[in-house]
């Protein structure tokens, strides 16, 4: 069998035939007849320009196929075909984060700020995905649940360690797992899984203990976050995944990894940093971290991070609620560090990862844009190049 392909399709039952996607398509891959609007699989480059212009949501359909559905077939479809069965390796190979629609939607949303189709770093390890799902979850055991934020912090951020027992659950730094909160929602249906990035490296929170860690902030009405934050040692937790096939650490020792985060957006970066520490502790000046929080006591892993050698991990902390000081955000730190960042922007091995709350996206984007402009670079163009090269990644929520 030839390698499976990922194909972009439009749901004919939802589409209203406004042809906005056709006008937005940059490679004339979209066409229509009197019945349907269709995407030519041989032309589509996954640039995603058609996604936001669609008023209906019918545009956001994807299938893994052995051969593309031809345009002539699509033009007479009354509904979309079901996804055929493929093995998990095949799915990861074509860059599908997860076949399950709801998980896919969550990941698409988390990645959308990058402005186009996410592509994994070239030197990243190949991820496994979707090994466990809603119908077939894995039961993990809580090994520990520790509060990371100070007692006088308003935020309750937890470091939760899950033991995976004897089950093989290969998860890479930057990937996520699904947590299924127990109980039923108000419609009497089981809750859908919520996604959390793992904060441990691939060989486990402790090497070879087959465990992983999560970094979870308690949200006032969050069903899943309260469930997780209240877990006690030896409690059972149902998990799914792993998910995500693009927000991954490059293995290349020459790669510079610039990490920008707020709050629990630090989770994947803890995994990145620990992986590097274990694998290549002598590589210098290849990691930099821009980390924003309200105050030091609200910043998860503040203590351990401060103990890292500066030539292994360069850290810049921005605090927005420090008594007697002006508010600082990660974008302000990016601006004060423009000398070193502008050098990085010009290097072909620089990877930028952004993780945290959606609200941080615009500020960071503007700051990078300003830094780039001063050295005569158009950030929008560079960003697109880096993204297509697997060197620019956003995961926000």
């Amino acid at each position: 069998m030839s390698a499976p392909l990922k194909q972009h399709l439009i749901d004919p039952e939802i589409c209203i035939r406004c042809y906005s996607c056709e006008a937005a398509c940059t490679v004339q891959a979209i066409s229509h007849n009197d019945d349907n609007v269709v995407v030519d699989g041989t032309k589509c480059e996954f640039c995603m320009a058609c996604i936001p212009v669609c008023p209906t949501g019918s545009i956001d359909e994807w299938r893994v196929v052995e051969n593309y559905y031809p345009v002539e077939d699509q033009l007479i479809w009354l509904e979309l075909p079901q996804q055929q069965d493929f093995s998990n390796d095949d799915e990861a190979a074509v860059g599908l984060d997860a076949i399950d629609d709801s998980i896919q939607a969550l990941l698409d949303k988390a990645h959308e700020g990058a402005g186009g189709k996410a592509i994994a770093p070239q030197s990243a390890s190949k991820p496994s995905i979707n090994l466990f799902n809603l119908g077939n979850p894995l039961t993990a055991i809580v090994q520990g649940n520790f509060r990371l934020t100070d007692k006088d912090s308003n935020g309750d951020v937890r470091h939760i360690i899950l033991d995976l027992g004897q089950t093989h659950f290969p998860v890479l730094e930057g990937q996520s797992i699904g947590i299924i909160p127990p109980g039923l929602d108000e419609n009497g249906k089981p809750f859908l899984p919520r996604l959390y990035s793992v904060s441990s490296p691939r060989d486990g929170e402790r090497p070879n203990y087959n465990n992983l860690s999560l970094t979870v902030k308690r949200e006032p009405d969050g069903v899943c976050s309260n469930y997780l934050c209240d877990l006690e040692k030896d409690d059972e937790v149902k998990i799914t995944g792993p998910f995500g096939s693009t927000f991954l650490l490059p293995n290349d020792p020459a790669a510079h990894v610039m990490m920008i985060c707020t709050g629990t957006g630090s989770a994947p970066f803890r995994g990145f940093t620990m992986r590097r520490q274990r694998e290549m502790p002598n590589v210098k000046n290849s990691l930099s971290l821009y980390f924003g929080a309200r105050r030091p006591q609200d910043l998860p892993y503040f203590g351990p991070l401060n103990k890292m050698p500066k030539d292994f991990l360069k850290t810049e902390f921005a605090f927005s609620r420090l008594d007697g000081q002006t508010k600082e955000y990660v974008q302000d730190k990016i601006r004060t560090q423009k000398a070193s960042i502008s050098k990085l922007l010009q290097q072909p091995n620089t990877h930028i990862f952004i993780c945290g709350l959606k609200e941080m996206e615009n500020g960071v984007d503007e700051a990078l844009s300003d830094v780039a402009r001063e050295i005569g670079i158009d950030w929008a163009i560079l960003r697109d190049e880096m993204r297509q090269d697997g060197r620019f990644h956003i995961e926000t929520y």
């Binding site: 939802i14 209203i16 936001p52 212009v53 186009g116 108000e186």
Partner: protein, 483 residues
């Protein structure tokens, strides 16, 4: 040069046209702004002004930035001036100047014609907000309420787009016209809106859906032909407006579709096979299909009148001048001048409707109307699929274009929906079967009860199949302000 993709928020008015460095126009718009805000505040009930609504706002005109979703209070929505990116080396696509570079300034000889086109387009935008002002109070769900307000704020933005063009390119006359756009009012005795359909009421949500499907589709066709204009700023304004207009089409098509779906589902559940068993069907708290057909007849025919007369020298002049093209002009394969071409327009010969060949230049309106009819028919076909899929024997049909017309060749005669000329007695005897009666209106009105619980829908309408921005079914699209 200003950053053409990203929207600048450094002036009161977000824009990607470099307003900050265009003091004259900025001042003009800032002077116009308070009047606009007053108009808006007087229009929408206060409870909704204070509510948080999940709206999309454009932060740039490229795919990444044009649809940012977040909770916004409507008066704080950033109405702005957004033009689609300039196409390099764009040429005038039609008329006697076809092939020449597009105009970046108003060509003197077409100044008044162009101004009139912009004013007519601009006049429709606030009109529909005025027509829809009372609907918030009877929204069948928070999802629908959100969609109504999204349509409203974007119609408001479209008004801004036209006002910008008037102020930027038409001097004192333009400023006067911009002010007048806020003075006219839908349905007003003294100063009505310019076009008939925009002075009709939108009394209930089915009317709203029909309006957004049929009447906003006229808007779409007009924008499509203005997007072909040789006056480049108008073309760029309209191209960006079209992306927003697609959402209005969506609200209309899915709104009517969901209404039909609920009706069919309720009939099946109650074991009613005959779609004309109206009393029984209405007792289920849903709108019977024959009444939906009547609403469709009304809104479709009112909208056809918006295309003007079949043979029109105004339209010919605008096309020939290159300031208004045909639908998808850039995809048509002819000389784009129409000096010798002919086109078949509707006419009445010996009491029958026929097509008669006339110079194509004078038939530009008719041609756009034909494109509209084809476009409108598509959605009707999809509504029929819903009915068919649920196993009900009924088919919605667009009436003949001669039926119920007030403008053009059909205006002086009476027609039945099949397009045959009839006399007054025949017309009077059947009109209540063809167009919604007062009693039909009263019945629909009786179903219009607000539903304000997230994820819940009024009895007469099915939930949508996909949430806005892919949100879950119980998403709270509007956080209502408790007055």
């Amino acid at each position: 040069m200003s950053d053409i993709m990203n929207v600048s928020y450094d002036t009161l008015i977000p824009n990607n046209v470099g307003l900050a460095s265009d003091k004259r126009v900025l001042k003009g718009l800032e002077k116009w702004h308070p009047g606009y805000i007053n108009w808006w505040n007087d229009l929408i009930p206060q409870q909704f002004q204070q509510s948080l609504i999940y709206l999309r706002t454009a932060v740039s005109v490229d795919p990444k930035g044009w649809a940012k979703f977040d909770y916004v209070k409507m008066p704080e929505y950033r109405w702005g001036i957004l033009l689609a990116p300039q196409v390099e080396d764009r040429k005038i696509p039609c008329g006697e100047h076809a092939g020449e570079p597009v105009w970046q300034e108003v060509p003197g000889e077409y100044r008044s014609m162009l101004r009139r086109l912009i004013v007519i387009q601009g006049d429709t935008e606030p009109a529909s907000v005025e027509q829809q002002r009372f609907l918030g109070k009877t929204a069948p769900s928070l999802y629908d309420l959100r969609n109504l307000f999204q349509v409203n704020v974007e119609e408001g933005r479209h008004l801004w787009a036209m006002v910008y063009l008037l102020q930027k390119y038409f001097g004192a006359d333009g400023r006067q016209e911009a002010n007048d756009l806020l003075l006219r009012s839908s349905g007003s005795e003294d100063a009505p809106r310019m076009l008939g359909a925009f002075n009709e009421e939108t009394p209930d949500w089915l009317s709203f859906f029909m309006f957004t499907y049929f009447t906003d589709r006229d808007g779409k066709m007009q924008l499509e032909s203005l997007a072909q204009s040789g006056f480049d700023p108008l073309s760029r304004s309209c191209r960006f407006m079209l992306t927003e207009e697609a959402h209005h089409m969506f609200v209309g098509e899915t709104g009517v579709g969901r209404t039909i779906q609920r009706t069919c589902e309720a009939m099946i559940k109650a074991g009613i096979e005959d779609p004309y068993d109206i009393e029984k069907i209405r007792a289920l708290g849903v709108i019977d299909l024959p009444t939906i057909q009547k609403k469709m007849n009304l809104h479709y025919t009112l909208s056809l009148d918006l295309f003007g007369r079949e043979v029109s020298t105004n339209a010919a002049n605008a096309f020939n001048a290159g300031i208004k093209g045909r639908f998808m002009e850039n995809r048509l394969e002819d000389d784009h001048k129409l000096n010798d071409a002919t086109y078949g327009v509707c006419d009445i010969v010996d009491g029958a409707v026929v097509r008669r060949e006339v110079p194509a230049l004078t038939a530009v309106n008719m041609r756009l109307r034909d494109d509209y009819v084809k476009d409108a028919r598509g959605g009707v076909g999809r509504w029929n699929k819903i009915i068919e899929k649920l196993g009900i024997k009924f088919e919605l049909k667009l009436p003949h274009e001669a039926f119920n017309r007030k403008i053009g060749v059909f205006a002086d005669h009476l027609f039945n929906p099949q397009g045959q000329i009839i006399d007054q007695a025949q017309y009077d005897a059947s009109i209540n079967d063809w167009l919604p009666s007062n009693a039909d209106g009263d019945f629909i009105q009786s179903l219009m009860v607000p539903v304000t619980e997230a994820g819940q829908y009024a009895s007469w309408i099915a939930p949508p199949r996909v949430g806005i921005n892919n949100m879950a079914g119980d998403f709270e699209y509007v956080k209502l302000h408790d007055a």
